[in-house]
């Protein structure tokens, strides 16, 4: 892969990640359905995880695993393992939060019989 294409990837990858975050934010802020809001939050999480993992990459780097083949080889550049470890944590935490949010959606539906926030709004914002 030559350099000019690679620099295009700079814009492509970060741009996509941030666009996905923005699309999720838009969904979470504008949509009326509770489930759609949770979907928006989950999309934000996806974009964010992509953004973080994109920070780990070094051109020509390999996965940070010292297998036997790697130890015998000559190529010694590895990608940054720290963002990967952080994203691992973030994904699992995001799943926990999503599960709790969905259980709240179920309970709100149980009480109100609708998912539309305009009909639910009993409390002032």
């Amino acid at each position: 892969m030559n350099d000019s294409l690679f620099s295009l990837l700079n814009y492509g990858i970060y741009g996509t990640a941030i666009l996905v975050i923005l699309i999720g934010l838009y969904g979470a802020l504008v949509k009326k359905s509770l489930l759609k809001i949770v979907i928006g939050l989950s999309v934000i999480d996806s974009g964010l995880n992509f953004l973080i993992v994109a920070l780990d990459y070094y051109k020509g780097g390999t996965a940070p695993i010292f297998s036997l083949g790697y130890l015998n080889g000559t190529d010694k550049l590895m990608v940054d393992p720290v963002p990967q470890a952080l994203v691992l944590t973030a994904i699992v935490i995001g799943f926990g939060v999503t599960a709790v949010a969905l259980s709240l959606v179920i309970r709100l539906y149980r009480h109100h019989g609708t998912l539309n926030i305009d009909e639910i709004k009993d409390l002032k914002w």
């Binding site: 666009l19 720290v82 470890a85």
Partner: protein, 238 residues
């Protein structure tokens, strides 16, 4: 009207953030000059000190093991929170409220695949320190196996007590191994066992032990999440 305001705000925020990340750059070293990033230490210490092949595992379990303890707690709390939020006084456990009717092809196919999935999950978390994967990944894979069985069979059930016992025991193992580090080395979560030879199954000291405990815990917790949600009655209250 609200939509336009939101779109303009998001465009400003997105443009600003994107500008920053374009500046950081993709695929090139982005740390400022004269800084020694911790990742170099992690990469060198993983092989030389811990005898673990997978650096991500070493970071997750040992260097930043405290995060993982917290993360496992988050999942544990999520299960507890789910149970507390969806609690009803007359809780009819055992009767599934959400059914997905499955044909015989699906049921017999699931029966065939299920042991393979569990085995794969176990493999992934036992070899967490050697190959990609580990406790989280293996635990999640096992949970998907149980998910498959729960979807395919209407009367497939898991003892709720058994799940919570596995969860508790795995958690106690993690925290207990951490506290044993005090005796063995003087700090919490210290790797006090001999680390063995690189790329052997029995290597890495306490790392495989903790990751296996994490695997059991994650599997039990995620199965618990699905189980709780599946048994939720979807009717509107009077």
């Amino acid at each position: 009207m609200k939509k336009f305001i939101v779109i303009i705000l998001l465009a400003v925020l997105g443009g600003y953030t994107a500008n920053i990340f374009f500046d950081i750059g993709f695929g090139e070293p982005h740390f400022v000059q004269g800084v020694k990033p911790v990742k170099d230490i992690y990469l060198s210490e993983t092989v030389s000190n811990l005898n673990v092949s997978n650096t991500v595992t070493a970071i997750v379990v040992n260097f930043r093991g405290f995060d993982t303890l917290g993360e496992v707690t988050v999942l544990f709390l999520a299960v507890t929170a789910l149970g507390s939020i969806l609690y009803k006084r007359r809780h009819q456990v055992g009767k599934r409220s959400v059914m997905f009717s499955a044909s015989s092809i699906v049921t017999s196919g699931s029966k065939l695949i299920f042991p393979a999935i569990v085995l794969l999950g176990a493999y992934v978390f036992i070899h967490g320190h050697l190959s990609p994967g580990g406790g989280f990944q293996g635990g999640v894979i096992i949970a998907t196996g149980f998910l498959l069985m729960l979807l395919a069979y209407e009367n497939f059930s898991i003892g709720h007590n058994a799940l919570s016992i596995i969860e508790s025991l795995a958690g106690i193992t993690f925290a207990g191994v951490g506290l044993m580090g005090f005796i063995g080395g003087g700090t919490f979560l210290e790797n006090f066992l001999p680390t063995g030879i690189l790329n052997n199954l029995f290597s890495g000291g306490v790392i495989p032990i903790i990751y296996i405990a994490v695997g059991f815990k994650v599997a039990a917790e995620l199965t618990g999440v699905i189980y709780t949600v599946l048994h939720e009655k979807g009717e509107v209250n009077e």
